[in-house]
């Protein structure tokens, strides 16, 4: 078949596809728009302490200390959450006569600094109108020197961010600060430096990751709550866990053209299995590198601007050139609006605590905000929930996952042309889709992990891929969605044709519920553009199918997750991160234990719920004993309460846990307890003089002051007696089966009873 015939054939095929209406349809937008300007008037000030005043350990020259600040004009209320912006590498100066850009620092005579840090004023103004203080930092000194630095100036960028946070912190306390002369004193006390978000563009993206890691290494003096890496480099492959992050990848990036920032997402997914921080990635189709910054955008600044996509691809390139009739580019206005909308949603969620916009970031609402000016085929989102918000079915992270999933169930397939795991530095280190990483941004490199991917190629409607769910995991009633990431493997698929297939859940009785991927996601799109080196690009995106759409099966006994490739005649996809996503808060299962103390009606209560690292937890205990007055409630974690008399009481514990993803989880647990006079009501002064040590204990404890026939009892937090022994000698071995944790050691003697809390820590 000649190429012309092939094209004619595909042309007809597309026409048929369109006529059949298999094409995307526009969904209704349901989420409030995060890109609507806020109600607050905004004021901008700048501080400029000099071009060479900030000593940074890893930079051979002092850096400039210059930044802009946008803030709500009235400053009513506050302190306000803070957003830090850090631009990327760009020319540093321009000739005031010829307007030629140059790269020295400080700028020689006749040159003025290029103010890259002002290029995000549009976003800073916007965020300030919603009650944020936005600080955008100049980074020219590092840009002038980092070419000759093996670390690419990344530690210096992190130090520069920390330097400015320190400056702001000193100023904020009202102490003597050089900033006062620059910006006055009206902002003193208005910076909430425990609620900080950071965005870094390009090399600034990797820079803010270094900044967050530096801040953590210093004991987290500032509360970094969220990180955006915008078209970033990731030269050093640092992994940032524990802080929600969003990476934005512009498809037509002509500078960081391999979109290597996806590594920030990919590399961090399973390196820390306790990580509660969500990760997001947005592919912005048609975006270039420079248009996010007005100082770098032609027509918006006096010198040093360029359209990087046109520079790389040529302005007439069919897709990424801006002067092509078939251009897929988004213009500078759209690109800034799009960034502003999604960054607003992200910062307001993770820094401001407003979860209104979560559906946009979590692929629950696929329609871009109207303010972004994007169509559904301009933007694709990936979302990796934190640990407790997902249950991994198959991480597809090891070769083992070809045949056994993360839950321990079998993985099988039938009829497929080919299947197998590639990439991720595993046995098959690369997937061989393209000859380079420009077309495979998720690809790892030598010694670097990248993304492991399960390739699934089919040519028959009965071809299938299946993950079994072990019996202990089959109750998915607390799950909100089935989710995975996927991309079309374009080199094994029909050019230009989007794909579809069926996802099935099968219960233990064999009942089947099916959903078409295409009804829930746009992610299986054929990636646009052709170029021998750079296009198309395989970019993974999340596909999320609500559990509620799987009807007619027993959701308490879901035995299999099956992909049935019956929607497209043939095709090839790559998948990763197959998981169930928990409902908004999962299940807290609040519960507590209690132990009778030895004096009167004093009872100790112990919250036995485990929380996640980073949770903000509040407790409210109600003891059901109103005659005890104000003591009838407590907000302590593990309180004691002296009941006013014997009787039956209903005790309730209400727990409020605000998670790192801003979800607020609450639960209340009540139980009835019977309070009786203690068996040994002993006056404190008459208690035997017994000491138990060491505490914490490992293998044994010593009981000083005990006598033979005295009895030691160990009671766990559930009130269960786990050890009873006569104390025949001062040293008592602790049984090896006792788990680490807190116990009550109770020594009963003829002289009275002694109670001490004892921690076992082996």
């Amino acid at each position: 078949m000649t190429s012309r015939k092939i094209i004619s054939f595909y042309g007809c095929l597309y026409a048929i596809v369109l006529l059949l209406g298999v094409h995307f349809h526009t969904l209704a937008q349901t989420t409030p728009d995060p890109g609507i300007l806020g109600p607050l008037a905004v004021t901008k000030v700048e501080y400029d302490l000099g071009d060479a005043v900030a000593p940074l350990d890893s930079l051979p020259i002092p850096a400039e200390a210059r930044a802009s600040i946008h803030y709500p004009t009235t400053l009513t209320g506050g302190p306000f959450p803070v957003i830090i912006l850090l631009h990327g590498r760009h020319s540093t100066c321009y000739n005031t006569t010829s307007l030629a850009a140059s790269s020295a620092w400080p700028c020689p005579t006749g040159r003025l600094p290029i103010e890259s840090f002002q290029g995000y004023d549009y976003h800073a103004r916007f965020m300030a109108s919603h009650g944020y203080i936005v600080v955008s930092i100049s980074c020219n000194a590092i840009n002038a020197r980092d070419g000759a630095m093996a670390n690419n100036g990344m530690p210096a960028r992190g130090q520069l961010v920390q330097h400015h946070l320190n400056l702001l912190n000193t100023y904020n306390t009202g102490a003597t600060s050089p900033l006062t002369a620059e910006i006055g004193s009206s902002l003193v006390g208005k910076f909430d430096l425990q609620r900080v978000g950071m965005m870094g563009h390009s090399r600034g993206g990797e820079g803010v990751v270094f900044g967050a890691l530096l801040n953590r290494s210093l004991g987290s003096p500032y509360g970094i709550k969220a990180i955006i890496t915008l078209a970033p480099v990731d030269f050093k492959r640092k992994i940032l866990n524990g802080i929600p992050m969003l990476n934005i990848a512009p498809y037509c990036d002509g500078d960081v053209s391999d979109l290597q920032g996806v590594h920030f997402y990919d590399d961090a997914r399973y390196t820390d299995l306790t990580d509660e921080a969500p990760k997001h990635n947005i592919v912005m189709i048609g975006g270039n590198h420079n248009f996010y910054n007005t100082t770098w955008t032609p027509g918006s600044y006096i010198a040093g601007t360029s359209d990087d996509a046109n520079s790389l691809y040529g302005s007439t390139h069919a897709f990424c050139g801006s002067n092509s009739a078939t251009s897929g580019r988004i213009d500078t206005t759209v690109q800034k609006a799009a960034y502003n909308s999604y960054a607003s949603a992200f910062f307001r969620m993770y820094v401001g605590g407003d979860t209104t916009f979560a559906p946009i970031l979590e692929t629950r609402d696929l329609v871009p905000p109207a303010s972004s000016m994007l169509d559904t085929d301009n933007v694709y989102v990936s979302y990796h929930p934190g640990r407790t918000d997902r249950r991994d079915i198959n991480r597809i992270d090891t070769v083992y996952n070809e045949t056994n999933n993360t839950m321990g169930g079998a993985v099988t397939s039938s009829g497929l042309v080919s299947s197998g795991i590639c990439g991720g530095g595993l046995a098959i280190p690369v997937c061989g889709i393209a000859t380079n990483f420009y077309k495979e941004p998720h690809k790892g490199a030598t010694g670097q992990k990248g993304l492991a991917q399960m390739g699934l190629r089919w040519d028959n409607a009965t071809d299938q891929y299946q993950n079994d769910i072990p019996a202990s995991q089959q109750d998915i009633t607390y799950m909100e969605a089935l989710q995975f990431r996927a991309a079309i493997r374009y080199d094994q698929s029909v050019t230009g044709l989007d794909l579809d297939y069926t996802v099935q859940l099968i219960d233990s009785a064999g009942a089947v519920s099916s959903q078409k991927v295409h009804d829930h996601s746009y992610a299986l799109y054929y990636p646009p553009g052709t170029h021998a080196t750079y296009l198309p690009k395989v970019m993974f995106n999340s596909i999320r199918i609500p559990i509620s759409s799987f009807t007619g099966i027993d959701l308490k006994k879901v035995r299999k997750v099956k992909f049935l490739f019956d929607r497209s005649a043939a095709g090839s996809i790559l998948i990763s991160d197959l998981s169930f996503v928990a409902k908004k808060c999962g299940k807290l299962n609040s519960t507590f234990a209690f132990a009778y103390d030895t004096v009167g009606y004093d009872i100790s209560f112990f919250d036995t719920l485990s929380y996640n690292t980073g949770d903000t937890v509040k407790w409210l205990w109600r003891f059901g004993n109103p005659t005890s007055g104000t003591s009838d409630t407590s907000t302590a974690h593990n309180p004691s309460h002296v009941f006013t008399g014997a009787g039956t009481y209903t005790v309730c514990l209400s727990v409020y846990a605000k998670r790192i993803n801003q979800r607020i989880c609450t639960d209340t647990f009540c139980t009835t307890i019977t309070v009786v006079p203690a068996i040994f009501v002993t006056d404190v002064n008459e208690r035997p003089n017994i000491t138990i040590y060491p505490n914490p204990a490992r293998d044994q404890i010593y009981i000083a002051g005990a006598e033979r026939t005295d009895v030691l009892r160990l009671v766990n937090q559930l009130g269960q007696v786990v050890l009873t022994t006569e104390i025949n000698e001062p040293m008592v071995w602790l049984p090896t089966h006792l788990a680490n944790g807190m116990y009550h050691a109770i020594v009963t003697t003829s002289r009275g009873q002694v109670h001490q809390r004892l921690v076992i820590n082996r």
């Binding site: 190429s3 597309y14 790269s103 078939t326």
Partner: protein, 137 residues
Amino acid sequence: MKRTFYFILLPILLLFLQGDAAAQAKQNAKISSVKQKGNMVYVTVTSAKEFYMGNNKHILYIGNQLFDLYDQENEEGKGTLRFHIPATAYKALPNGAPVYLSYGELYIEDGETAGDVCKQDLCPCWSLGKLNKRTQK
């Protein structure tokens, strides 16, 4: 942008765009000096056109070695990249080795050289001739 538009036109476009190469700006760069100072050799590449000051790296390929530490100076439209090469590494380079400059790392497959990739003219890469240790000092 409408996907529909792209879909309809794609077959037609394919007729014209097969093998379309990116338009790469001509850099006309050359090695203008090689100087040793202490244990470091500085290879200076100059161009009548400024080198792009962006976020990716310029990389100097000499033979099968690559070097990516450099000072960059763009002044009045002219560009200078001064690469830092350890003297021991420079000494080990074969005289006459082909030299290429790229913006961003080249993906060189087994059996390929930087020149093979560069000659395809598919990415920002420029030939700087051959290393001449006798005159380039």
